[in-house]
């Protein structure tokens, strides 16, 4: 079993991390709450605190901040690091973690060759962590001050118009849509269904037709609506990882060999420019 040091943004996150880390923790983990400083400073403090409490495994949340602090701390400690872990285990002195690989098409099992080890836990795993947990909060041991010339000038909340992670129904489109002006068609269908609009990675990241908050996939939103309708989306694993937990998946694609049909409950091989208006009519009538 390992001596675990939790690094968390707040008490709630620390509690969830303690639950996920329970299978490897010999006794209640120590927990260091973020001091809110720059990641360079946080990482140095985390590494120093880890030494101070004699931790051999550091566990943090796989938030963007969590990942960068964990990666820097791992480098300071000359440690292996697995980000976005779904679960952790230890048997026969060997520490292992599972994480999605290749965008979620498979779950890989990774072994740490040595300790200390650094892990960040996928936010989805933390959200699902239930039960009781205990940890002992420790105060930070200041790390070496590298004296970096960098300052936070401004921090403001992102103005988001949509939160797909909470949507009950999503109508999503991909490259099958020929031009930006045609998004109106998708919007009409979504409105009829009371659904939010989602899109694949190329639409948001390459074509930039929609802001990134509409993007479903491993670098976008991980969604689990009751109904997910994929229009003209081929079904790259990038996308699959973002919607595989939807209750019912519908795919419309003109290519009958598109991988999306393998992930779908209901598939229609056809031109979305014909099927979408037909669907609107079927819903209306």
């Amino acid at each position: 079993m390992s001596k675990v040091l939790i690094y968390a943004a707040d008490a709630e996150e620390a509690k969830a991390l303690a639950i996920v880390a329970a299978p490897i923790a010999g006794g209640p983990p120590a927990a260091l709450l973020s001091g809110g400083a720059l990641p360079e400073v946080e990482a140095a403090a985390l590494a120093a605190t880890s030494g101070e409490v004699g931790a051999d495994v550091i566990v943090a949340a796989a938030s963007k901040k969590g990942n960068e602090v964990a990666a820097r701390a791992a480098e300071i400690l000359d440690a292996g690091c697995v980000t976005e872990a779904l679960s952790v285990a230890e048997s026969g002195g060997s520490l292992t973690a599972k994480r999605a690989i290749y965008g979620g098409v498979a779950v890989g099992e990774f072994a740490f060759e040595a300790k200390p080890a650094v892990l960040t836990i996928a936010l989805s795993a933390l959200a699902g962590a239930e039960g009781d947990s205990a940890y002992g909060e420790v105060s930070a041991t200041a790390g070496e001050d590298a004296g970096y010339d960098k300052e936070l000038v401004k921090s403001e909340p992102l103005a988001k118009t949509v939160d797909l992670t909470k949507a009950k129904r999503i109508v999503s489109f991909g490259r099958g849509l020929a031009k930006k002006e045609d998004i109106g068609e998708v919007e009409t269908l979504a409105k009829g269904l009371g659904a939010e609009i989602g899109c694949s990675r190329p639409i948001a990241e390459e074509l930039k037709w929609l802001p990134q908050e509409h993007q479903v996939g491993i670098t976008g939103a991980i969604v689990k609506p009751d109904l997910y309708i994929a229009l003209g989306i081929s079904g790259a694993i990038q996308h699959f990882a973002g919607m595989k937990d939807a209750k019912v998946i519908v795919a419309v694609n003109s290519n009958k060999n598109a991988p999306i049909f393998q992930f779908a409950d209901y598939g229609i091989v056809g031109d979305i420019y014909e099927v979408v208006p037909a669907l609107e009519q079927a819903i209306g009538g």
Binding site: N67, A74, P157, L227, Y266, G270
Partner: protein, 258 residues
Amino acid sequence: MHIVVCVKHVVDSTEIHVDKKTNELVLRGLSTKINDYDKNAVEEAVKLKKELGATVSLVTIGPRDAQKTLKEALAMGADDAYLLQISPRQQLDTAQASLILSKMIEKLEPVDLVLCGEVSEDGYNSQTGARIAERLHLPHVSYVTKLSAQDGGYVAESTLEDTAETLKGATPALLTISSAINVPRLPTAIQIMKVRTSRIKNVKLADLGLDDSVLETPKVKMLGYEIPEQERKNIMIDGTASEAAASLVKYLQEEKVM
């Protein structure tokens, strides 16, 4: 100003799929290419080159085929490229890759900015940038969605889950670049072909003061993988568009999701 961009040669992740018979991932015979996210980093570097007269160097670790990735980035406008060649079967963990890349960057000093893509589309580890920064004792900004730089300093906007941060700092620094920042220029196949392979300089581990053992000592090893069960109905609906639409609506009403 000297900018180094770390790029990665990856399998085209959109082609990875599961072989239904063996229930194993099909990874062989897939096409390989430059990591999409690194293109945004190269684009940002090339923009700064135009603005400030910067020199842009590329570094990568990969098989011989990684020349393709470097050629594409050179065709985008980078000036020179360095390849540390490894066997196509060689896997590196993030600690090994960061160590080697850091040494490659050190060789190119003085360096003002190191740019990386925010993530690689094969590993999705989001570690290498931050690790290199720590090893090279550089401050870093991750997930950069807006960047302005001049000699001696930069202002970068970093987009996190719920907040946008603006950071200001002095160079040298490392930045990981988000795909939201720009639309990378697309060199044509002919432009890429015209890039002479001789522009790519081969780097050996010994040149970096490392020996081959660095390739043999990962800190994290993949033991294996499992394919999660997909329990989907896979019902294909036939008929004309309106027939199919009508049947689908019926199914969805039965499922009580409409």
